[in-house]
Symmetry: C2
Subunit: 191 residues, 2 copies
DNA sequence: TTGGAAAACGGAACCATGTTCCGTATGTTT
DNA sequence: AAACATACGGAACATGGTTCCGTTTTCCAA
């Protein structure tokens, strides 16, 4: 035997792995250039592969988006506990963390829109972001409400949805997503 | 001559007017059934006309949407001064008026999304809503800030944009647009 | 080293939607 | 009733997502 019992499942082909990273880079570039709705054919062309290859690696656009932004989402999630430990008050930590999330969203054209699309294809995106970030947000909310700084029982999922929505069209010159998010954060405070 | 000098511009054809109202009714029905993004062909079929006829009467989808919802927008605009006169405080009037606007938006699937699309075709929609409602909102904001109830210098356009955004996906069971809008309104208050 | 099975590829073909265009039909005027 | 303007319908085109299958590449094992 070769050592591994029930598997030895022939290692992934080299071209496959090559294409996957090429696609990730191409997608990242296309997203910057044309937003997360960049046409599939464009991304394929940038990566020098056929469209079929995209679908084989990333069945839905959401899978591709998640793959491209995974590190940044992880970083955001990780920042929650750190901010809570380092900030003067839980409410301050919550505010900082939300602004971090907003900064992430507003720099990705179309991501906020995609986040809230109810298209089945975006289910994965939805699920990933929410699974990863809602618990962090809930922890911050809980700390702040325990400290008596904010209204009790605020639902983290609703808050994240709302903040995401406020980031839609953030690059529109007549709009100011950060200001609106600031109002929401202020509105959470007990008076 | 026929009497009228520089015009006598031959009255509109009967079939044209018939089709316009048929189209408005069909669009209203389609919007209720499938949201404001109902396929053009569906609307045409409901109205019993060809697609060309839609484009002749309503060059962009925004024109159609505006035509369908004009009365309701007008009603909302008209309610502003009334609320201001009847409410206990300007802030209360502002809150009521915004909730009125929210109620309007959340019952029109996809309208909030369309409102903030930067697609050129939605320019008309944007312009109409904003021209009509922003001044009303500005008046309410002004009254409230003059009364010292809310932060000064809040921009009505930004607020309307934000509220519109918060209404996106309002029918999603895990979300609560009214709650989020309530937080914004609370956040406007001086403490 | 090489034969061939498995894996992955490319891109043509297909579908859904929005949009345009023009030959035809309808209404209006004289 | 004839002649003209107006409006109509829907085929044809454009765009973008998605699927499918014949071909190519890689890997394993003899």
């Amino acid at each position: 035997m070769t050592g591994t019992e029930a598997g030895a499942p022939r290692k992934r082909r080299a071209d496959s792995r090559r294409n996957e990273t090429a696609l990730l880079e191409a997608a990242a570039a296309a997203f910057v250039a044309s937003g997360v709705n960049a046409p599939v054919r464009d991304i394929a062309a940038r990566a020098g592969v056929g469209v079929g290859t995209i679908y084989r690696h990333f069945p839905t656009r959401a899978d591709l988006i998640v793959a491209v932004y995974r590190h940044q989402v992880e970083a955001c999630a990780a920042a929650g506990p750190v901010l809570l430990a380092e900030s003067a008050t839980p409410h301050a930590a919550l505010a900082s963390w939300i602004h971090l999330f907003v900064d992430f969203l507003v720099t990705k054209h179309g991501l906020a829109e995609a986040m809230r699309s109810d298209d089945a294809a975006f289910q994965t995106l939805h699920a990933y972001f929410l699974d990863r970030l809602v618990p962090v947000c809930a922890e911050l909310l809980d700390a702040a409400s325990t400290a008596g700084e904010i209204i009790p029982d605020m639902d983290a999922l609703v808050l994240m949805h709302g903040v995401g929505n406020l980031c839609i069209g953030a690059d529109n010159p007549g709009y100011d997503a950060r200001l609106m998010v600031g109002l929401v954060i202020a509105g959470l405070r007990l008076r």
